[in-house]
Amino acid sequence: MSKVTNILMVGVGGQGVILASEIVAEVMMRSGFDVKKSEVHGMAQRGGSVNSHVRFGEKVYSPIIKKGEVDILFSFELLETMRYLDYLCDSPVLLVNNQKVLPPSVTLGADEYPDTIPDLLRARYPGFELINALDTAQQAGNAKALNIAFIGALSRQFDVDQKAWKDAISSMLPPKLVELNIKAFSLGREH
């Protein structure tokens, strides 16, 4: 059986992690793969930790990824990246959006936000890449397109036609937001 690809997408409520995972899952289904995707939503997620497991391959059983088997960690926020290192396989790809969202204990002054995260990740993982998706989104015209700009960077990891990504984005976003987000995707893919 061909290997299943495991992508763990993590971030903070409100960053668009879930929509990003919906798009990746949709693209992989349209590309002929079996797909499963799982996340938890419920408690007022705004501001809370969010993660979504996306798996695709010839046949996928579990909707959640085993620890030690994540091929690609797709992280929208620096600190959130650090919570999931035990999920990573031996030679993972880490795409990390260079953004800090301060958790409550940091805003309250009780904890400090660790400032060495990119250096620590770079030192351990050759597959680490720091991406300024927020800049790319702003360049495309709106900071809220951060998630789609970031997906542009992720799309380089797969042998899937650009058109499949753009078709999925066009069909899953409100019509008035499509043009902006296609632009954000293209810029994100080029950078």
């Binding site: 995707k37 938890v40 705004r46 501001g47 085993k66 600190l79 650090m82 290192l85 409550p104 805003t107």
Partner: protein, 586 residues
């Protein structure tokens, strides 16, 4: 056509394809999206019921009339609906009646992790358990068929990892179900007077026996013989976890989890050398299989608590190479719990209650986040509507010494769900309690659903809206006050006056959820902190607003407001004793 659907979307689709006529639910994670998706099928009458008991009664009525009906709820919702459930098992149905129970192992969004398979056995009702979205759709259709064939309500049990996971589903065309024009009177079947119920009970027991035979013949209860050295009996998403870790072992995958296919279990047990039962939460299969005299390994190696995953299967069964996982790069990471939103109307109320140091009997909703630091102002939270009963019990236990000590806090949707009857108790039995209804005009916690107080139905139609003041007055509450939850002084004055009053009183906090689409888009200008005036006292931080940060600086550390997050609600400016928090446009 193949599409990616969540388990909840697939359940709604299955009901649609089965020609369901009536669908009803009260929102509750992880079940909420079932009815939200059902409402998109205009052929189906879909509604938000005030609570799960009403939902099941409405669905049962529809089924007695010959319609196909579905009631959906989270696991603890079945507790609320348990009264009609146990006797609907006796009466049976005419049209199909399917009850979705969406359980929450791990308590991602729940107060307990009860295993509702027990309800199926307890109420003598068959239960199907899908493993993915395709089965979720297929099993809902099968459930309607079983319901009508065996004259019984049927459970379909989902869990968070089914409801909120997506997988590929092949769609089929819907088959319409026609409801007869005439109502058929069958009081001996539907009027459960003792003499009728005594006749129905043996019919129920015979039904369970026949369903056992059916289970043995059901193809979805599937034996997969591979390596006979190890056999695993499992169901639901646990099948996927075990299959992930042990694709080469033999499986008995149970679809109908109540009643169990006894002959099939015995056949499977005879075909494999070592037998495991891999089930989340209770040893539901294990106890029944052990009672058959079959040697099986279960809870000795698998946990009783929490949700499973493929690693739990691998570690419990063993024999596979354990993956080594990377150690953390930073030992302590600041946690990131969910938080009340910037501008949330609940924040000021909890700040005032904290200041008053009263005992807060709490309830279920976004405001339960008031229990977390820094507000940390909730002292009980057990189930929907319980806050009001708790306040009454506290009042009666302490007697004259109770005055001024406790307050009940409950949301508007929760009040509609289960708060009216305990408030009636307070009025009737003269409890000197203060009840605060946090009326944010929506069911916020589950994603802002309508309820009988919002003036809109699930389908978005305008409708009657409960007049909370008139309702409380009709129940016998004489002291009814209101406040605008962004006026701290008023909040505190009203709370102090009512808590001191040795009579029942209700205070209604009138402030819509800031995320509510009808709250109005007008965002107030944000506030900012004058670094010169800030006295570094940290009082504003005690509000736990995500927009307020603590900033290191020279000559002193000060508060700082993130203007992108600030909603302009002004509560922080009201607590600031230095007058350092000012509106940015001034």
């Amino acid at each position: 056509m193949k599409v990616l659907l969540s388990g909840n979307e697939a359940i709604a689709r299955g009901a649609y394809e089965a020609g369901v006529n009536v669908a009803t639910a009260y929102p509750g994670t992880p079940s909420t999206e079932i009815l939200e998706n059902m409402a998109a099928y205009k052929e189906i009458y879909s509604e938000w019921a005030p609570n799960e008991k009403v939902a099941l009664e409405v669905a049962t009525g529809a089924a007695i009339a010959g319609g196909r009906a579905l009631a959906a709820m989270k696991h603890v919702g079945v507790n609320v609906a348990a009264d009609p459930l146990f006797t609907a098992s006796y009466t049976g149905v005419k049209g199909g009646l399917v009850i979705i129970t969406a359980d929450d192992p791990e308590m991602h969004s729940s107060q307990n992790e009860q295993d509702n398979r027990n309800y199926a056995k307890f109420a003598k009702i068959p239960m199907l358990e899908p493993s993915d979205s395709q089965e979720a759709k297929d099993f809902v259709k099968l459930a309607f068929a079983i319901s009508e064939t065996f004259d019984t309500p049927v459970f379909v049990r989902s869990t968070t990892r089914i409801s909120h996971a997506k997988s590929i589903v092949e769609l089929s065309d819907p088959v319409a179900h026609d409801v007869p024009d005439q109502l058929e009177k069958q009081p001996e079947k539907y009027v459960m007077l003792p003499r009728n119920a005594r006749i129905r009970h043996p019919i129920v027991e015979e039904r369970v026996r026949k369903l056992g035979e059916y289970a043995d013949g059901l193809e979805y209860n599937r034996i997969e013989i591979n390596n006979p050295a190890c056999g695993i009996i499992t169901s639901g998403v646990c099948y996927e976890y075990a299959k992930e870790s042990f694709p080469d072992y033999s499986f008995l995958k149970l679809a109908l989890v109540n009643p169990l296919p006894v002959a099939k279990i015995k056949t499977f047990a005879a075909q494999v050398k070592k037998l495991y039962v891999f089930e989340e939460l209770d040893p539901f299969f294990e106890e029944q299989i052990k009672a058959l005299g079959i040697d099986i390994v279960g809870k000795e190696v698998f946990p009783l608590c929490g949700e499973f995953n493929p690693t739990v299967a691998a570690e419990g069964i063993g024999g596979t190479q354990q993956t080594t996982t990377a150690p953390p790069l930073i030992d302590y990471l600041p946690p990131r719990p969910p938080n009340m939103c910037p501008g949330c109307p609940h924040r000021g109320v909890f700040y005032a209650l904290k200041k008053m140091k009263v005992f807060v009997a709490g309830d279920i909703g976004c405001y339960t986040l008031g229990a977390l630091p820094p507000l940390k102002t909730m002292d009980t939270c057990i189930c929907m509507g319980a806050s009001i009963g708790h306040a009454m019990g506290i009042d009666k236990a302490l007697g004259d010494k109770a005055v001024g000590k406790a307050v009940a806090v409950i949301g508007d949707s929760t009040f509609m769900h289960s708060g009216i009857t305990p408030l009636l108790d307070i009025a009737y039995n003269k409890g000197a309690c203060t009840v605060v209804i946090l009326d944010n005009r929506t069911t916020a916690m589950t994603g802002r659903q309508e309820h009988p107080g919002t003036g809109y139905t699930l389908g978005g139609e305008e409708t009657k809206s409960v007049d909370l003041k008139a309702l409380c007055s009709a129940l016998g509450i004489d002291n009814i006050r209101t406040f605008y939850p962004y006026d701290l002084e008023k909040i505190e004055t009203v709370l102090r006056e009512e808590v001191a009053r040795p009579e029942p009183s209700v205070i209604i906090s009138e402030g819509p959820c800031v995320l509510h689409r009808r709250a109005g888009k007008v965002k107030q200008p944000p506030y900012s902190v004058s670094q010169d005036d800030c006295k570094s006292c940290k009082v504003c931080l005690q509000l736990g607003c995500p927009a307020i940060e603590w900033q290191k600086g020279e000559p002193k550390d000060t508060a700082y407001i993130n203007e992108l997050l600030c909603n302009g609600c002004s509560i922080c400016a009201q607590v600031c004793t230095a007058g350092a928090i000012i509106r940015s446009d001034k």
